[in-house]
């Protein structure tokens, strides 16, 4: 039973690493401002699918990795991703039953919260405000949520991660 419980941890780790790679993947200049927050999307999925395995602490560690990779203030993404993980865990039973478009809307709220925290923190340390397209990654994240959801679910089922 314990063996079965811990099945597929490698797959979860792999998806997190893939998300981190996508986070710093070089993009053309216009694409840099549109990059969806892959780490946040993948974290939300795993929190919804396996709330007993992926949670606040995973979110915190993932956030710390994002901080290091993007050169942000140490702890900034750690804070916002652990908050996102907490909220997802709190509502996972309800959100799981939502139709996919409604799920995408919930994801949009979470992504925007994530970005709002980032904006607050950067204002607090004296960086200038953001233009309107600062929010574009959240919208794009919402639009690709069905895709992320589908891919990760097939991965989870294919490798029997539970």
């Amino acid at each position: 039973m314990t063996l079965a419980r811990h099945h597929g941890g490698g797959v979860i780790l792999f998806t997190f690493i893939a998300a981190l790679v996508l986070t710093i993947m070089p993009l053309p200049e216009w694409g840099r401002y549109l990059r969806p927050d892959w780490a946040c999307l993948v974290l939300i999925y795993w929190c919804l699918a396996l709330p007993d395995r992926v949670g606040v602490s995973s979110g915190w560690l993932l956030g710390l990795a994002v901080d290091l990779l993007t050169g942000a203030l140490l702890g900034q993404h750690a804070l916002s991703l652990s908050l996102v993980a907490y909220l997802t865990l709190k509502f996972h039973q309800r959100v799981r039953l939502f139709p996919i478009w409604q799920q995408a809307l919930t994801v949009l709220v979470l992504l925007m919260l994530h970005q709002l925290l980032a904006l607050w923190i950067s204002r607090m340390i004296g960086r200038p405000g953001a233009p309107w397209f600062f929010w574009a990654p959240s919208l794009l994240g919402m639009l690709i949520w069905p895709l992320v959801y589908g891919v990760l679910r097939s991965l989870r089922r294919g490798f029997r991660v539970n």
Binding site: I17, L20, V21, I24, M25, P26, L27, E29, R32, Y33, R35, V56, S57, G59, W60, G63, L64, A65, L68, L69, T70, G71, A72, L73, L74, G75, Q76, A78, L79, S82, L83, I121, S122, I125, G126, R127, P128, A130, F134
Partner: protein
């Protein structure tokens, strides 16, 4: 608990800079991810290098030959000028260093936060890189190192909104500060009085006053000057000379360690033994400094 932990981390990172060693240690853990992202770039570079045609290589070779020839011709003049400069400085009894110790680093092809102008380079503490170290490319000053990990370092560009660089106008020595604007091809000089003598086309060089950047390196060219009698300062905008968004190779400078240009390029090995000696002690000095407390 995690919220509190993150808050403590952020405050410590922002206010006290005490987490540099933690960040450096943790950056080893994420180094593989950066390498992974680098893979397609490396592969495509390798392909284009190994598949380059003979004609293309020959053309490139020719143009490089011409370039070297031209630069050698300029260097001949430089040797005389440098000697003369040192002699004159000696007459004036002031010390002057012509060249600095430099190494070449390469950018890793990773994108960071698009709202910060930061880059990652493939040299770190193991190459004696330290936070605050100036970064140049072939055309001018690019920025400075902010975090130095063991294998990689993060640098902030001069156009980042949090960056300011002390400059002076090459024509008349007028000193000012150039602030990053957040736009990759623009620097702002907000503290120039209306009466100051500055005009479009003026070359801005580092003044060396902040103690970070060695004096005399080109930074930017003034592109627009707007005198508004209603304001205390005129609005001056400059264009950075360095290819901030295009350079692949960058130069890292040790401002303290000085060799003359001739010794650095090994064109005229006059007193080679004493030269290498001073070089060795200098490197050791820097190394211990970085270990104890990075400035």
């Amino acid at each position: 608990m995690f919220v509190a932990l993150s808050a403590v981390l952020m405050v410590m990172d922002h206010k006290y800079r005490s987490l540099e060693s933690v960040r450096a240690g943790l950056s080893v853990a994420i180094y593989p991810i950066q390498l992974l992202v680098e893979v397609p770039e490396t592969v495509s570079e390798w392909f284009s290098e190994s598949l380059a045609t003979r004609r293309h290589l020959q053309e490139e070779n020719d143009s490089l030959h011409t370039q070297i020839f031209m630069q050698k011709a300029q260097m001949q003049k430089l040797a005389a000028l440098e000697a003369e400069n040192i002699r004159l400085r000696e007459l004036l009894d002031s010390s002057f260093e012509v060249g600095e110790k430099v190494i070449i680093a390469e950018l890793l092809s990773v994108n960071l936060d698009p709202y910060k102008h930061q880059i990652v380079i493939n040299k770190g503490q193991l190459d004696n890189i330290y936070p605050g170290q100036p970064l140049l490319d072939a055309e001018g000053v690019m920025g400075q190192i902010v975090h130095a990990g063991p294998y990689t370092s993060t640098a902030v560009l001069i156009t980042d909104t949090a960056h300011a660089i002390p400059v002076q106008v090459n024509r008349n020595g007028l000193r000012s500060i150039a602030l990053g604007s957040g736009t990759i091809n623009r620097l702002d000089l907000p503290y120039i009085p209306n009466s100051a003598d500055i005009q479009p086309g003026d070359l801005l060089i580092t003044s060396g006053l902040g103690g970070r950047f060695p004096p005399g390196y080109p930074v930017a060219v003034v592109s627009a000057v707007q005198h508004d009698p209603g304001r205390t300062f005129s609005q001056v905008v400059a264009t950075p000379l360095a290819h901030l968004d295009r350079s692949r190779e960058v130069l890292l400078v040790w401002p303290g360690e000085t060799t003359t240009i001739l010794e650095a390029t090994e064109l005229a090995p006059l007193d080679a033994p004493s030269d290498t000696d001073t070089d060795g002690t200098g490197t050791a000095g820097i190394a211990t400094e970085t270990e104890e407390a990075p400035p």
